[in-house]
């Protein structure tokens, strides 16, 4: 302990560093604030790094596609597509600034604050992870400007009494309801569907999904033959698959991400279990990677989704928007990117009608949103927000894998063929 003297100069340096750092920091925002005249800034908070980075990058491409359609003259039948920019602001362009939340609610909140206070964003979009949408929407509420929830589907998000929360797409209860609607309609046609096997992972997604499915099964007279909860990213699912095999339910309802889904299907094959039908809660079951790995075993599997490219047969605009997206992303629109695309269109429509960047005014304009379904790229009835900020006209679709691609089989509004039931028939 003879180093006391030398600490003094070091601490001085440290102090100076802190001050210089603070000065640099204080100056940085001023630079960022310099924005082009006639621009409306919208902040987007998505995972840009980490295990879900691809989703964030797809979201960016989807939102940029939407921004390009708004800012340039096109002949698409979407809100704001026909003119250039926002007519409510004399043709001002929409510019979206992206921030990375890395799946962390704290980082999402900090980035939201930065986008609002430094970048002067007039509204926010996000955030894929429901946990991050929870803190980002709360931050938007504190600063009294709207948050458009693009793709988080936890039902609890719209039930917190927030004034500035809006969600144009469906939440998990609506998704699960659609799955049961399909089974009800098949029952009405004489199919024997009585028992269900729930198979779900243990994070917020799987837990929420199974809760709702259990509730709906009770209400609509289905019996849960087994409810198997498993640890996400588990190295083996043999015991779990034994359980669902011995339950021999009429329908297997998995809520799994991609890697778990692949393991589930492979293990079922190894143990010689062929379910009569699979009705999956999207996630892994709408990912191409899963079908690339085990597609031949999933002939006839059904999954829910928000979006279907089949809609292009009834609404050619969908194919054109998909082409625009594909030019940027090198892939087709999917369940998530289609929702993210629509989120910016709906939000920009509200901002435009408000005609001012005031948060309260944009909120008022959004609550008055009324977009008919055929002016979206989704199989929706339309976009109208209820008192909680939820759009109730966003019917999900059910898609069946025919061995090569997905075919929309439900509801009638969007279906292009009848479901094959049981799956292997």
């Amino acid at each position: 302990m003879d180093d006391g003297k030398e600490r003094e100069p070091r601490m001085k340096l440290n102090r100076r560093e802190i001050m210089t750092g603070a000065a640099v920091l204080a100056a940085a925002p001023r630079v960022a604030r310099a924005q082009g005249a006639g621009e409306i800034l919208i902040g987007a908070v998505f995972p840009m790094t980490g295990s879900t980075a691809q989703t964030g990058l797809d979201a960016k491409n989807a939102i940029e596609t939407a921004a390009a359609i708004i800012n340039d003259k096109t002949d698409l039948d979407l809100p704001l597509a026909r003119g250039a920019g926002l007519p409510g602001f004399g043709g001002a362009k929409v510019r979206v600034i992206y921030a990375d939340h890395q799946g962390d609610p704290q980082k999402g909140r900090a980035e939201a604050e930065r986008l609002i206070t430094q970048e002067k964003a007039v509204a926010l979009i996000g955030c894929y992870h429901s946990a991050v949408s929870a803190t980002v929407s709360q931050t938007a509420e504190r600063y009294a400007l709207p948050f458009m929830c693009a793709d988080s589907s936890s039902p609890s998000l719209s039930r917190r009494g927030l004034k500035f929360f809006f969600r144009a797409s469906a939440h998990d209860e609506m998704f699960s309801s659609a799955m049961f609607d399909l089974m009800d309609s098949l029952r009405a046609k004489g199919q024997k569907i009585e028992t269900l096997a729930l198979f779900h992972e243990d994070t917020i997604f799987g837990a929420d999904s199974a809760n709702v499915q259990t509730k709906l099964a009770g209400e609509r007279g289905y019996r849960i033959a087994c409810d198997v909860k498993y640890r996400a990213n588990s190295p083996s699912l043999t015991t779990e698959v034994q359980q669902i095999k011995s339950a021999a339910a009429d329908v297997l309802m998995p809520s799994s991400y991609t890697t778990d889904g692949i393991l589930l299907v492979r293990t079922m094959n190894e143990l010689g279990y062929k379910p009569r039908a699979i009705v999956a809660q999207a996630a892994g079951f709408s990912e191409q990677a899963l079908y690339d790995a085990v597609g031949d075993l999933l002939h006839g599997a059904i999954t829910r989704g928000s979006f279907s490219l089949d809609l292009a047969q009834k609404r050619p605009m969908v194919a054109r928007v998909n082409d625009l997206f594909k030019a940027r992303a090198g892939k087709d629109l999917n369940d998530n990117s289609a929702r993210e695309f629509m989120a910016l269109i709906v939000l920009a429509d509200g901002v435009n009608r408000a005609g001012t960047t005031d948060g309260e005014a944009i909120r008022a304009a959004l609550t008055a949103t009324d977009i008919p379904g055929d002016r979206t790229i989704m199989p929706w009835k339309g976009v109208r927000f209820d008192a909680t900020g939820q759009n109730n006209g966003c019917d999900p679709v059910l898609l069946q894998y025919d061995g090569r691609k997905f075919v929309t089989v439900f509801p009638l509004l969007a279906a292009i063929s009848e479901p094959v039931w049981p799956m292997n028939s």
């Binding site: 003879d2 600490r7 920091l25 609610p105 900090a110 929870a134 243990d202 917020i204 837990a207």
Partner: protein, 327 residues
């Protein structure tokens, strides 16, 4: 070595600390941007957390990579008391600290019989078990977590809509308390016992050091402070779920500043946090939106650079050079 320069050095340390606190306390006069204030709050919080971690792992030598358990315990106890029973966080945070201290003692009782890597692995496993427990405990929100409604500024509830200053001054006070605790125990009998146990537990035991009990004390103290930080974090973010307060990354984030700054040193955690946290926050904000992962590359390079060039930590390197330059 006479006691005279030693006491002088101690006195200088406390003056420097008070000076640093004073300067930092004045920062909000110049820094009005909430985003930068947010970075400052996090920096101070991690300085305090890392200081707490340093008590057990730096001074006592029991490397823990499971401190997220105590952090999460603090967050959950504070918020369960707050949202379910209306108990103000001012009571919730120390309550969380006490619960965490008890858990640390319960964990320590079997685990302090393990040595070296085995102890580290045990801390990781126990923290993971705690994480799974919270993930499945419906009363505590399970995977959905706990959303903490904030409707108005309130000192009683310790929540503020937009202002970061109350959080800033709390974090500053917390960091100073954690530093002061370390400063006081640095000269206490406990600290000498811990260091003896760290260097050679068997030799220390044979000289009359109660190694087991001194480790238990270090663990309980470290866990208490960490849990107070967890309660603060929950109030600051207004939302907790198992992943965001009990994930393994928190255990690493608490250890990194101390390792970077200097393991088992008084100033190491503060110096480490002062460099690491602004760096991670700023690189993410200004390079993260591109989606190219540039921020993580910068961060990774820095950690690698420190590990290769200054494995003893910044404070260690500075004091070593200072010693060399002395006649």
């Amino acid at each position: 070595m006479t006691s005279d320069p030693h006491i002088k050095a101690r006195r200088e340390n406390i003056f420097v600390a008070i000076g640093v606190v004073f300067v930092v306390a004045c920062l909000p006069l110049f820094v009005t941007d909430v985003y930068v204030q947010n970075v400052l709050v996090l920096t101070l919080m991690y300085a305090a957390l890392s200081q707490s971690w340093n008590i057990l792992s730096g001074f006592c030598g029991q490397i823990s990579l499971g401190h997220a358990l105590y952090f999460g315990t603090g967050a959950y106890v504070t918020e369960l008391l707050f949202t379910k029973f209306g108990v103000a966080p001012w009571f919730g945070m120390p309550a969380g600290g006490l619960v965490a201290a008890v858990i640390a003692a319960a964990v320590g009782y079997p685990c302090f019989r393990l040595k070296g890597h085995y102890f580290v692995i045990a801390t990781i496993v126990i923290a993971e078990a705690g994480y799974l427990l919270m993930l499945n405990w419906d009363y505590a929100g399970a995977a959905q977590g706990i959303d903490i409604p904030v409707r108005a500024d309130s000192w009683a509830k310790f929540q503020f809509l937009r202002s970061k200053l109350p959080y800033f001054y709390f974090a500053l006070g917390f960091a100073f308390v954690a530093w002061l605790v370390t400063y006081m125990i640095e000269e206490s009998r406990w600290s000498y016992w811990w260091r003896a146990a760290k260097d050679n537990a068997d030799a220390a035991e044979s000289l009359g050091v109660d190694v087991f009990r001194s480790k238990m004390a270090a663990a309980a103290l470290s866990a208490f402070l960490t849990a107070v930080g967890g309660g603060f974090y929950a109030q600051f973010v207004s939302y907790i779920d198992p992943e965001s307060v009990m994930g393994f990354q928190f255990s690493l984030l608490m250890a990194l500043p101390a390792v970077l700054g200097g393991l088992g040193t008084l100033w190491g955690p503060a110096v480490g946090a002062g460099i690491l946290i602004p760096l991670t926050e700023l690189t993410r904000s200004f390079a993260g939106g591109s989606g190219k992962g540039l921020d993580l590359i910068i961060y990774g390079l820095l950690v690698m650079g420190i590990a290769l060039g200054r494995p003893e930590g910044i404070v260690g390197a500075v004091t070593k050079r200072a010693r060399k330059g002395r006649p």
